[in-house]
Structure formats: C-alpha cells, structure tokens
Symmetry: none
C-alpha cells in the first residue's frame, strides 16, 4: 500500500473524531478523492474545509492540492506495477524459493525509492541543502540501523570539507548537541522517529539554538514533530520480521539527493575538494600497494 494511505491507516487511531472520519473517507476511495475539490470532500464527510486543510498539514503536506497530487502519484504507482502489488510486502515466509525472494525484494526496493521521491517536498529539501551548505558545524545523530545512514552521510560530508560528526555513542551525542549554537545544524535519523537517544539529542540541539532536521519514515512521530525541517522516507513495512530494509535504502536515497544538491549548489567550492579527496586516496593506496607484499 502506498505510504500515504499506509500512514493514514496507521495514524487513524491517533486522530480526532472528525479527522478519523476524513481519513476513512479517503481510504475508502482514494482514487475519487484526488479528483475532488476540498469543498466537495468536506460536504461528503460533513465537516468543514478548514478541517481538511488542517488534516493535510498534520501529514506534512503543503495543503490540500499538494496532498492530492502526491496521493495521485502514489495511487498510480501501486496499480502501475500490480505484479509487485499482489506479492508485495509479504512477510518473510519459510522456505520461499529464492527467486520469489529476489522478486519481492526488488519490488520492495523499487517501490520504496519511488514512493520516497514522490513524497519529497522540494522547497524543504532546498532549505535543508542551504542550511547544510552554510552550517558552521553539522551533527549527525542515529542509532543502530540509522547509524549506518548517518555514517554514510558523514563519509560524504567529510569528503567535501563540511565540519561534521556522526556519533555512535549516545552520551557523546548529547554532549555534542549541548555545545551547538545558532548557525550549527543537527540532523537526526531514525526509522521510527521514536528512538529515545536520538530524540534527546535533537531536543538538546534545538535548545542550544541549532537548526534541527529529521529524517524518519513517513507518518507522525516525535522526532518529526520536534524538527524544524522534517524529511521523510517511505514506510512500506509494518512487521518486525522484515526489519527496516527498504527504509534504509529509501533514507540513503534521500542522503544522496541532499549530498548531490549540496555539491551542485556549491559546485566551485565542493568539486575541487571532492576530487582532491579522491586523488589522495588513490595515491595513498598506490604507494602502500607498492611497498607491500
């Protein structure tokens, strides 16, 4: 199911009465909703248009039209690839033939990249890129699986000379967060958006005056609420068994976009550094290779 509908389903219980009614109406026939005006939908649910706009903002859309366009794109995905659709997102099952696993995995990963892209808010992304480019210091927070993503971003940022750190240790995270100031950036990554260590660190960073960015899977979460600039990856999976495999790929996809955006916007500054770091590694390796064996 598309991340938006999935999120509606998941968050339904947390919503207020009328918002839940709206969510149910949307889930009942999302395909219709994308062709409706806000007034029409409001009437069908016997609620006010204002409630719908608010509802869209809760789910981090710019407004109702933005919601419609993104929902339309997602609905198209799911029925575009129905061979994905039927088999999709099933849990791991005993003794599945490997070819089935391969196909399912490909479907999952492709869908997760597509869905993530279609959820992107370009302006916010641009704002985040600008922030990162001009940051005095960048802190990256992420535990467990998300630490992989943080490490990845760290390696990239170091290569273009951005002053940044990724923490494996939760105490160090907090220590560093509390030493941030205005002009610094804290970037927190968490699949669920509820990792306590990461939440603590981002809270602390915000209190210290740093700009706060989160990267979580789509849906409401403590971390996303906390951040000034919440970014989202798709969230296909619900079961514990499947782990967060697709989400990690979706998050790396966003990291790649951010990084490429940074390099592109400060091309003159960053490209020489990138090439320099590349050549240095090459050179170092060459020397070392020669002297060994």
């Amino acid at each position: 199911m598309s991340p938006i509908l999935h999120a509606l389903e998941k968050e339904k219980s947390k919503l207020s009465q009328l918002e839940r009614k709206l969510a149910e109406r949307i889930l009942a026939s999302p395909g219709d909703v994308v062709h409706m005006g806000i007034t029409e939908l409001a009437e069908q649910c016997s609620i006010s248009p204002a409630t719908i706009t608010r509802f869209c903002k809760v789910f981090h859309f710019k407004g109702f039209p933005d919601f419609k366009v993104k929902l339309a794109a997602e609905l198209a995905h799911s029925d575009a690839a129905p061979q994905d659709g039927n088999s999709s997102y099933q849990d791991i099952v005993a003794g599945n033939p490997l070819s089935v696993i391969v196909e399912a995995m490909q479907a999952n990963h492709l869908a997760s990249i597509r869905d993530t892209t279609s959820l992107l808010n370009i302006e916010r992304l641009q704002a985040v890129i600008s922030l990162l480019c001009s940051a005095r210091r960048v802190d990256l927070y992420g535990m467990a699986t998300s630490s992989i993503v943080a490490q990845d971003f760290y390696q990239k940022l170091v290569r273009i000379g951005v002053n940044c750190t990724a923490f494996a240790d939760s105490h160090m995270q907090i220590t560093s967060a509390s030493s941030l100031a205005a002009g610094d950036v804290a970037f927190a990554i968490s699949y669920s958006g509820e990792t306590p260590e990461t939440i603590d660190a981002l809270t602390c960073a915000g209190a210290s005056g740093a700009s706060t960015i989160s990267l979580t899977s789509y849906g409401s979460s403590t971390l996303a609420t906390l951040a000034e600039f919440p970014l989202f990856s798709s969230s296909l999976e619900q079961g514990m068994r499947r782990g967060d495999m697709a989400s990690r790929i979706a998050q790396l996809h966003i990291i790649d976009i951010l990084f490429t955006g940074m390099v592109s916007s400060k091309f003159g500054d960053f490209i020489p550094k990138l090439e320099h770091s590349y050549l240095n590694v090459q050179q170092y390796r060459h020397k070392r290779g020669g002297s060994m064996q």
Copy 2:
C-alpha cells in the same frame, strides 16, 4: 511515455505558438509542473494563465488542476520504466535545479537495483546463503564506503545469532582472517574490487581454509577473481564526482536478498531470534524511557 506527454508531443505542431511554448515547457520537466500553480507556470513561459486554462481544455481536461492530478498519476507510472535510460547517469553539474537532481537520482537508483537483480546468479546466491547459514564464523571485510555495507550486514547477522564480525581496522581484518579455518566464511566487499586492504584480508582468509565470497561491482577485478563465490552489483558510474552512491544501494540490495534468503531457509531457527532481538530492544527502550526525565 505517458499518454498525456505523448499527446502533447504529437499535437505540438498543431498548436499555436504560445501553446507550443507551453507544451515544450511541460515536456521539459513534467515532474515540476505538477507541483506548480498556474500563475507560476504562466510566468515561466511568459504567457497568461488564461492561455494555460485554454490549453488544458484543448486536451479535454476540466482545467489546470485536473490536468495536474492526471499528469502526476501518469508520471508515476512512467518513471518506473527506463525511458530514464536516455538521460541517465549524467554527472553532477553546477547549479542544476533540485528537481533535475531528484529525477536523475531516482533514475540512477532504480536502474541500479534493476540491473543488479538481472545480473544475479541465483544458484550462486543460493550457495552463498547456505554457506552463511552453516558457517561457524563469518568475517566481513570492507573499507570506507564499503564498510557501511559491511556494518549493515553485520547488524543483520547479529540479530539472527550468526557469529560474525565486521572490521573497521585493516590490521584487525588480517589478524582475524589468519585465524579462520575450514567451515568459516570470509565475505569481502569493495566497489572497485581493488581495495588493497580488502584483497589482502580475503587472500589471507582463503589461505587459512575459509570459504571466500566477494561483492564487487560488475566486471573483472582482483577481488572477484580471488573469491570462490563472486557476487556482483551493477556499476553505473564511472566519474569520481558521482562517487559510489548507486553502487552502495545496489550492494545493500544484495545484502537484503542474502539476509532474507537466510532467514527464509532457516525459518524455524532464525525467526524466533529475530523476534527476540526486536522485543528486547523495545523493552529496553521502554524501561529507559520510563526512568528518564
């Protein structure tokens, strides 16, 4: 190409001058257009909003918003398919608009997953899975970017109780490799397949009697030649500027397949462990959350 864009292309010649300009703008980056207002688009084309509305009616849409929603749906369909191919794998260019970067990145990543899947040798994959499942000990080798992939696999294997290690330090890699024996498995990851530290470690592991697996990008490389079971990810990128972004995602894709394959084949053994590890993390967090603040 989607029917709408196709129609635009086909009818372009029959349209008036300004309408053609509009059609060309839409064709140039339809993905942006769906997120624009009519005024913004009008300004970009130096035409009046009225012309846009008329244009939409010519193509039998109810109006501009209707056009946007339907175009968004179609784009979602079509970007699954590799008309990506033509534009694909361009290098990072100064001041590219973010929307172009996003599209290019999506095309790259989707292609890299598809290509990797189609390169897979299922039998070899199956053999590797069996090896990993029955290994007494698993060593993971990977430097720099590839260490991210190694770490990721490490985290997964730990969760199902496989006795494994991932090394950040090249000396430790060698030390560990030399202590392996028959029944152990060495798994080396390198984008280029020429990373000296990783080559050394795998060579050493092979000499010690361990089974050797490599994961490199497609093509002949020292590491792939060295390994008993070479696995390949797609290799889209050549320039240094692009780094190894897509390759890392392709490699993780393979890791996910291996892991899922392992869990599936030893379902009874692994699933309880996976669930156990999941619950423990939850519980631990819960306690911690409660005692905090």
